[in-house]
């Protein structure tokens, strides 16, 4: 059987053009041969598709005909969401609008920057700052002036002493000897012991001729020192005798060893000894002791031309000065000690005992 004959048979079979007999034969053939069955199915499908294609074309043309009757433009205008034209604009052109907006913002910023409007330098700020600075300076000047006025009003012992010297106890009840030149012209005189305690004193007697001054501690805080350990030697000391002194050339008590080098002082002054001893201006008024711990004089000064040479008032002139004190100037008894308790002690032990009786003399005046 040729293919074209088979096709004709298939078409006749599908269209129902076969006789009952033929149809039965073809059914049998179809059951026997699977390829024929497949060909029938394929042909049927293909021709159906052709028919559908035709139907689609005709339906499409019918729809087009109907469509042509519609006034689409009017309808479209009516149906457009008019209130949201800005939304439509955004939907269609949002990328372009974004770019344009960015460019605009950039341009504005650039303009502001180039014209200086964007900087923080507000021209009004500068004069204001200068104004504040000016006020600040004025205020500081005022403050300085006020401070200096307040300072100049201050007086008394709060400021440091103008003059310093050394003094030592005559008795345990507060009589102290120093140099006249130390306290001369003073408004107030204080003494400070080795422990750093200051006491107010009163000048009881001065003997400018011997450069001697007698002070009395009249401070309520002062307590009796107890009997002084040294004796005041009446006799003259000999040349070459080993001597030493204690004094306050600085803030600390200082030991100064030396020798008695001459029986007369500066320019043959018979009231003084000449000494070879390391002393400084602060030592003035300090005690001059011999080996045994007897007071043989009061340090008075230093010869500037001769290095190492110092002078001390002889102790018997000190005693003379004490005896000349008017009795009504003394409200306490001034009885000198005659017993020496230092004689058998070593130098260091002597100094240890002595330091309680040696004072720094602080002089204040205006």
């Amino acid at each position: 059987m040729k293919d074209n004959q088979l096709l004709e048979m298939i078409e006749r079979y599908l269209n129902g053009e076969m006789t009952v007999e033929e149809s039965a034969q073809f059914d049998a053939l179809r059951k026997k041969d699977a390829t024929i069955d497949a060909k029938i199915a394929e042909h049927k499908e293909f021709t159906t598709l052709l028919k559908q294609y035709n139907e689609r074309l005709s339906l499409q043309s019918r729809l087009d005909e109907i469509h042509d009757e519609i006034d689409v433009h009017t309808l479209k205008d009516d149906l457009m969401a008019h209130p949201s034209w800005i939304v439509q604009l955004w939907r269609h052109h949002h990328s372009k609008i974004s770019v344009a907006a960015s460019v605009a913002i950039f341009a504005v910023l650039l303009t502001l920057y180039s014209t200086g409007s964007l900087t923080n330098k507000d021209p009004r700020v500068v004069p204001l700052r200068e104004e504040i600075h000016r006020i600040d300076v004025a205020q500081r000047n005022l403050e300085n002036k006020t401070n200096s006025i307040i300072k100049s009003d201050k007086t008394g012992p709060t400021i440091s002493a103008k003059f310093r010297g050394t003094g030592f106890a005559l008795t345990g009840n507060g009589y102290i000897v120093t140099n006249y030149h130390v306290i001369n012209g003073a408004d107030s005189v204080y003494v400070q012991n080795a422990a750093g305690e200051s006491f107010h004193t009163k000048v009881v007697y001065t003997e400018p001729q011997y450069d001697v001054a007698i002070l009395q501690i009249n401070d309520p805080a002062f307590k009796n020192l107890g009997a002084v350990p040294y004796r005041f030697k009446k006799a003259k000391s000999d040349l070459g005798e080993t001597v030493y002194t204690l004094g306050y050339p600085g803030d600390e008590i200082k030991f100064g060893p030396g020798s008695l080098t001459a029986a007369t002082g500066f320019k043959g002054d018979t009231t003084e000894y000449e000494l070879f001893i390391p002393v400084n201006p602060g030592n003035s008024g300090g005690p001059l002791l011999d080996d045994k711990g007897n007071v043989i004089g009061v340090i008075t000064g230093k010869q500037t031309q001769t290095s190492g040479a110092a002078f001390a008032v002889k102790s018997n002139y000190l005693l003379k000065a004490i005896q000349s004190i008017p009795a009504d100037s003394l409200n306490k008894s001034l009885i000198l000690n005659t017993k020496n308790s230092l004689a058998k002690l070593s130098r260091t032990q002597q100094v240890e005992k002595l330091r309680t009786y040696v004072f720094m003399v602080k002089v204040y005046n205006q």
Binding site: N4, Y53, T74, L75, K76, L79
Partner: protein, 188 residues
């Protein structure tokens, strides 16, 4: 909304019976009744009136074929069905054209119709293939195929029309044409 939307909308059952009876007037009523709705959908979602027409006609064809096949059940309103098909088709088109902005502005409620649209598109592809094959076939084969298989003309008519001396020649010619058409169709 406006006057245009006040056109007479046929009832759902009227449409179904009309389609089954090949009624031109019902098809026209159907088409005119729902076109504004779809035009509104498309023009407000990045489309123009020509695209609305394409989409709408495709949806009408889907409905038409479905009714013709006899498997259309009135489980939803016809209006909702048409809108859903159009919405789905338009979304696909927008994605193909890279015009989809991520959301769609809706005017009606809609149903999930993905499967139906998928089936329709497969069939549509087959039909387009057939159209292309027919174009490539050339005369006289194209007319013979159209006359015999589409317009159901008899071989007798075809013989006379093309001047074949006997029907066997015509049958042989028809057979050759069909074989060529099948070859063109399946080659694509």
């Amino acid at each position: 909304m406006n006057n245009q939307l006040n056109v007479e909308i046929p009832s759902d059952s009227e449409v179904i019976i009309g389609i089954l009876n090949n009624s031109d007037s019902v098809l026209k009523k159907l088409y005119l009744g729902y076109f504004p709705m779809i035009l509104q959908l498309v023009v407000n979602n990045n489309g123009d009136e020509d695209e609305a027409k394409d989409i709408y006609q495709e949806a009408i064809i889907v409905l038409y074929n479905k009714v013709k096949r006899g498997d259309f059940e009135l489980s939803s309103k016809l209006k909702t069905y048409i809108y859903s098909i159009c919405r789905r088709l338009w979304l696909k088109r927008l994605k193909q054209l890279n015009r989809y902005g991520g959301d769609i502005k809706d005017f009606q409620e809609y149903l999930p119709v993905e499967d139906e649209v998928e089936k329709h598109e497969e069939r549509d592809m087959q039909l387009n293939k057939m159209g292309d094959a027919l174009k490539l076939l050339g005369e006289p084969c194209k007319t013979i195929m159209e006359d015999f298989y589409m317009h159901n003309r008899s071989m007798q008519d075809i013989c006379e029309r093309f001047g074949y001396t006997n029907s066997d020649n015509a049958k042989t010619q028809k057979y050759k044409c069909l074989q060529r058409l099948k070859k063109l169709f399946f080659q694509q």
